[in-house]
């Protein structure tokens, strides 16, 4: 009997000390972790919109009573028609994960910018949604300052219309195209697929196409709000 008590006691003491030290670390790090998360979101939002706009959070209640948070960007110090656009978060089922992204839409329903927040697609294929084209190589890049470039896959969504379905071209990847070819794609409202990762590509275009409903909902909401203020 004594041994049982002794065993339990030892384990309890160890577990308590362990729990306390974990708790202490948690108290120290939780704020930083939360800060990190908001900062990530903020910098993602800032990267989507042009410099110097004011971003504020808003939300609307959808027809099914769910709350849709979104962000609006306004040109500061301007009166009427100062709305640059709005952004919302959404996701689509990719190849091996759900791809979460943030999309910024202009007042005329075109994509200002799109950035993938999280994905767990196949390395070397689907994960190339995050790939940047850079001239930096290992040999010079270690010493040179790394330029901050947007992933090419995400860049090609700029100025694509949300209200029309987004097509996929499988001919060549966007970053290899000439200016004229890029313009032609844009006129057809198409983006290029990542070679070998058509499913990932289609997941994103499909998700954005589905969100055209969200876009008109937000538009209506903003219009009604404006009307209400006047």
């Amino acid at each position: 009997m004594k041994t049982t008590i002794q065993l339990t006691a030892t384990l309890t003491v160890i577990a308590t000390v362990a729990g306390l030290s974990i708790g202490a670390t948690y108290l120290r790090t939780s704020d930083i972790i939360n800060q990190q998360k908001t900062q990530q979101l903020n910098s993602a939002l800032e990267s989507l919109f042009p410099d110097g706009v004011e971003i504020s959070q808003d939300s609307l209640i959808r027809s099914d009573n769910s709350v849709l948070p979104f962000w609006t960007a306004k040109q500061p110090n301007k009166g009427e028609g100062n709305l640059v656009g709005f952004a919302f978060e959404s996701g689509g089922r990719g190849y091996s994960s759900t791809i979460r992204y943030l999309a910024a839409i202009s007042a005329d329903n075109k994509i200002i910018g799109m950035t993938v927040l999280s994905q767990e697609e196949t390395p070397g294929l689907g994960t190339r949604v995050m790939e940047t084209v850079s001239k930096a190589t290992f040999w010079n890049g270690l010493f040179a300052k790394r330029e901050k470039t947007e992933p090419w896959f995400q860049s090609q969504f700029r100025n694509i219309s949300v209200l029309n379905p987004i097509g996929i071209s499988k001919k060549a990847e966007w970053h290899t195209l000439s200016k004229d070819q890029k313009a032609e794609l844009l006129s057809k409202n198409e983006v290029t697929a990542i070679t070998g990762a058509t499913i990932t590509t289609k997941a994103i275009t499909d998700a954005i196409t589905t969100e055209s409903k969200t876009v008109s909902e937000i538009n209506e909401f903003l219009a009604s709000k404006k009307g209400g203020l006047q």
Binding site: I22, G92, R93, G94, S96, S97, T98, E120, T122
Partner: protein, 202 residues
């Protein structure tokens, strides 16, 4: 019907597409260790299915009703590993008492399972997002995911054991004998399993 299809998709994903061993690299130590003979491989595989299913039930419930409810998710790792360790212990005792036959055949593998990362792995995966629906795993989904991940483990294990028995007498180059050839075999199996990638019910 829709639920059935989504559970079927989870199962296909767990067994073939995201096979624990051949795609996720979880549970490699027992995979290399017990795949030399078909009989031991089968025993180990069944024990893993059993523990994975039970562990999925308990860890999901604990995660949902205690850790999430009281906002102490940071204790997840330590709680899960303790739950799994005691579960394995409990399963061992229950089997010993009520099903000596099953205990005879599975008992030896149970202690090995506590430190099998596949079990903690599946518990952790179940706390995340179900990639096929985009929302968190429900209880049923997580249990199916646990069982089917175990089935995938068993499948890889018996295929591997069959192949290893076949190549036992092969004239393998000396430096590659043992672990390296087992890895190459697993690699070639993983190559074949790539054929399942991207499989979607439609």
């Amino acid at each position: 019907m829709e639920t059935f299809m989504s559970l079927l998709q989870i199962s296909i994903g767990a067994i073939f597409i995201q096979n624990f061993i051949l795609s996720r690299f979880l549970g490699l130590c027992p995979f290399m260790g017990v795949s030399k003979k078909l009989s031991t491989a089968t025993g180990m595989g069944i024990a893993v299915i059993f523990v994975m299913t039970v562990a999925s039930m308990f860890t999901w419930a604990i995660n949902h009703f205690i850790l999430e409810a009281y906002n102490v998710l940071y204790l997840q790792t330590i709680v899960f590993i303790l739950v799994i360790a005691s579960l394995v212990q409990m399963v061992e005792m229950i089997l010993h008492k009520y099903s000596p036959v099953l205990y005879e055949s599975l008992g030896v593998y149970l202690p090995l399972i506590t430190t099998n990362c596949a079990i903690l792995g599946v518990a952790m995966i179940n706390t995340g997002i179900n990639p096929y629906s985009g929302s968190p795993f429900t209880f049923v989904e997580s249990v199916v995911n646990g069982t089917m991940s175990g089935v995938g483990f068993l499948l890889a294990l018996i295929l591997m054991a069959g192949i290893r028995e076949k190549i036992e007498l092969a004239d393998i180059p000396k430096p590659l004998e043992g672990l390296p050839i087992a890895f190459i075999t697993a690699g070639l199996m993983a190559v074949a399993f790539l054929g399942f990638s991207g499989m979607q019910l439609r």
